[in-house]
């Protein structure tokens, strides 16, 4: 393996690589992100390669295992180049036909193409599918094109052009100025201007400084950081190297969530290769600049995604990591008391793009105050689940309807939850709001790390609020009282509402606790924890009142407030429900109407899950 002695050395290597690369040559790119792997992508790859070898096709056609393409709902995904034919939901049994028809004869297999649910049309090209067409994929652009475990491939996809440019032409102050001009704001949630943070750190008169990548993506329902680390780990390393140069750091840390084994493995491989090629370590590209990166694995504690708790988790040899009061902010006193820049994965991955294309390019995308693109994890009751990158300012409605393809079935959209457990619910009537930091805050929600969960009429908002709060309550580190006790008491009140044992005074009590938590908690975990509760109370008051006054759950979710019965017109007496009931609450003779004993029924829903005739009624 080669080590680049200089920038010129690297550029010559890139040129020779590109010369050998024939864009018109046929190759297959298979999405091997966590989502597609879970749907069996690796089995497909194995079978495909076996058949290709058997037929001797492997001499002309190569396969490439790439990171996440984003369209997880349709996985495993496979793209045949140069035509860019996208095959969806590919199974092992399809491998043979793909080799004989498409790879050998260039024929498209209709049934594997994406079918547009509204028109029923089959679409062959990736970029013609509405899900991709409406997006602006900058950070995710290279995910489907490169092998994430190959630095050479990253170089072939314009990797390290930005670092070369920075090392050759720019002074640290100029890098910071460029980032400031670009309008880049922290993508971790709060949206603090990145350039300003770097500048504060740079101004500190300390010899030792650090840069940290926060990859402790703890929000349930979020996987964009994971996908970047899995699909393009080098972009994060390149961004951190540029950042380190700007602020004057020679050491960096990446704090990765332990639940992401694949991201961790790709990151480790990337670090190893970057060191070997001379793009990390001492004397990077012969310029005399030193920078080293270490990986820290998280231990499954949500609070460690909070920057000061994260610092304490890296620092601590032992004991519990805890958030600490600010100021001082990490940029002045961070890791081991030294000035430290902490940015999110997406922020770091954006840096090389800005340095390569220039601040005006980035500044031209987005809204007045929010620049660039944002990646959302679109999940929940939505047709096209997946990763979506859009310019800031796109309306929430367009994202959900055009890219997400709307709600499956004949159900109505009810709300969209953004920002994870710290965010809030945006109701259907407010879906026109443009997606940027300010507008989302105004609606009571937040950008957060980009989670976006769509809910339909069968979702109970009290249950949703309870779900998020039980999450934050469980993850509260316990250091400060407003968060520890406040979340516990608030959860108790919500549970009483869900159980039908509450009065209207519960609502004002919840509001009171919410404002104490917002004002008195030490870190964002506690300050923002009331958000899902407060926004659902604000926008779905009627639903709360139905639970409190009428003791009913309109969505049919809260167990204490619903009853199960069997619709005599639809029941065929097949006996499936009788077998599935764990409480032996169902009785009936074969082929005769079955009945549920409400006294014995635990409302677990097992009968409804197993009934083939939709005969189970929930009221």
């Amino acid at each position: 393996m080669k080590t680049f002695a200089s920038i010129l050395d690297m550029e010559q290597f890139r040129k020779s690589k590109l010369k050998k690369h024939k864009p018109e040559a046929r190759h297959v790119s298979i999405c091997c992100g966590t989502g597609c792997r879970a749907s069996g992508a690796l089995d497909v790859v194995q079978e495909l390669e076996r058949i290709m070898e058997e037929r001797g096709v492997d001499a002309e056609v190569s396969t490439k295992l790439t990171g996440c393409h984003g369209f997880c709902e349709q996985g495993p995904l496979l793209v045949v180049f140069p035509e860019k034919i996208l095959y969806c939901q590919v199974k092992v049994e399809d491998a043979e036909e793909i080799v004989t028809e498409t790879l050998t004869r260039g024929k498209i297999i209709e049934r594997l193409l994406y079918q547009d649910p509204s028109s029923g049309m089959r679409i062959s090209q990736e970029d013609q599918i509405p899900f991709y067409r409406e997006q602006m994929r900058l950070l995710l652009a290279r995910n489907g094109q490169m092998d994430p475990t190959s630095l050479e491939d990253y170089l072939g996809n314009n990797g390290y052009i930005a670092l070369a440019k920075v090392l050759e032409n720019l002074e640290p102050a100029e890098i910071i100025e460029e980032i400031k001009q670009s309008g880049l704001r922290g993508r971790g949630g709060a949206g603090f201007p990145a350039g300003q943070k770097w500048e504060i750190c740079r101004q500190q008169e300390e010899e030792i400084k650090y840069v940290i990548c926060n990859a402790d993506e703890g929000d349930p329902g979020c996987f964009q950081d994971r996908s970047i680390l899995e699909g393009n780990p080098f972009s994060v390393l390149e961004g951190m190297t540029i950042g380190a140069m700007a602020v004057g750091a020679s050491e960096g840390y990446i704090y990765v969530r332990n639940e992401y084994p694949l991201a961790l493995s790709h990151l480790e491989q990337a670090l190893e290769q970057a060191r070997q090629y001379g793009l990390l370590g001492t004397n990077i590209l012969g310029t005399g600049f030193h920078f080293e990166v270490n990986i820290c694995r998280g231990g499954g504690a949500f609070v460690c995604g909070e920057e000061t708790a994260l610092l304490s988790s890296i620092e601590s040899i032992t004991g519990e990591p805890n958030p600490r009061p600010r100021p001082p902010y990490p940029a002045t006193r961070g890791l081991w008391g030294k000035p430290t820049v902490i940015n999110n994965v997406k922020t770091w991955a954006t840096v090389p793009l800005i340095m390569e294309h220039g601040a005006p390019w980035h500044n031209a995308i987005g809204t007045e105050q929010s620049k660039g693109t944002m990646i959302f994890s679109l999940t929940g009751k939505i047709r096209n689940t997946g990763l979506v990158e859009v310019p800031m300012g796109l309306s929430l409605k367009d994202l959900v309807m055009k890219i997400g393809g709307g709600i499956p079935g004949n159900k109505q959209i009810k709300a969209v939850q953004t920002g994870g457990p710290s965010g809030g619910c945006v109701p259907e009537k407010k879906l026109d709001i443009p997606l940027d930091y300010e507008q989302l805050s105004k609606a009571g929600s937040m950008m957060g790390s980009g989670g976006m969960i769509v809910m339909d009429e069968s979702t109970c908002m009290v249950d949703v609020a309870r779900y998020f709060l039980s999450f934050t309550q469980d993850e509260s580190c316990g250091k400060c009282t407003p968060c520890r006790e406040g979340s516990k008491q608030m959860l108790l009140l919500l549970e009483q509402i869900a159980e039908g044992t509450s009065g209207r005074e519960h609502l004002s009590l919840i509001e009171e606790i919410a404002s104490s938590m917002q004002d008195g908690s030490l870190c964002a975990l506690g300050q923002l924890a009331p958000n899902p509760v407060v926004t659902t109370m604000r926008y779905f008051q009627q639903e709360y009142l139905a639970h409190i006054d009428d003791k009913t759950c309109p969505a049919g979710i809260c167990r204490s407030l619903i009853t199960y019965s069997i619709n005599p017109e639809l029941c065929t007496g097949c006996g499936r429900c009788l077998k599935s009931c764990p409480a032996a609450a169902i009785s009936g003779q074969p082929e005769e109407l079955h009945v549920i004993d409400p006294e014995k029924c635990t409302r677990c829903g097992a009968c409804r899950d197993d009934c083939r005739f939709e005969a189970i009624l929930v009221q």
Binding site: C72, P220, G299, E320, V464, C477
Partner: protein, 152 residues
Amino acid sequence: MSIERKEIQPIIEKYRGQTTGHVALLQDIQKEYRYLPREALEQVSQQLDIPLSQLYSMATFYNSFNLEPRGRHEIHVCMGTACHVRGAPRILDRLSQKLGVGPGETTEDGEYTLETVNCVGACALGPLVTFDGRYYGQLTPGKAEKLTGRKP
């Protein structure tokens, strides 16, 4: 259960003198034994001069550590938001009912450990569980039940 010194020693050596990364140390031990045996923590405490109470403080703070031996098979039910709205609680109920254990517990015969996880990030496939590290998505309670291959 006594533990083999030869297994723990290389792990301790790897972290000797390091000023950071003791979460990773515990993770390495857990990878070896699939839980954190008291004997192993005692060894670490003695050899690296860390109070045992501090190691337990970490082991109980972070969700990913287990202080009890695990079953031969581990089932993790994803309780992330996307899975939640698509019916994860019912999957958990059904598995719990079938195995006769609650989340965090191991069946008496040591065959299965049932766990919940906050989110594995494969939201498109929800509700989903991981069974010995393998993902099983788009589950119904019925399908989930079949994974265990045992009668309730």
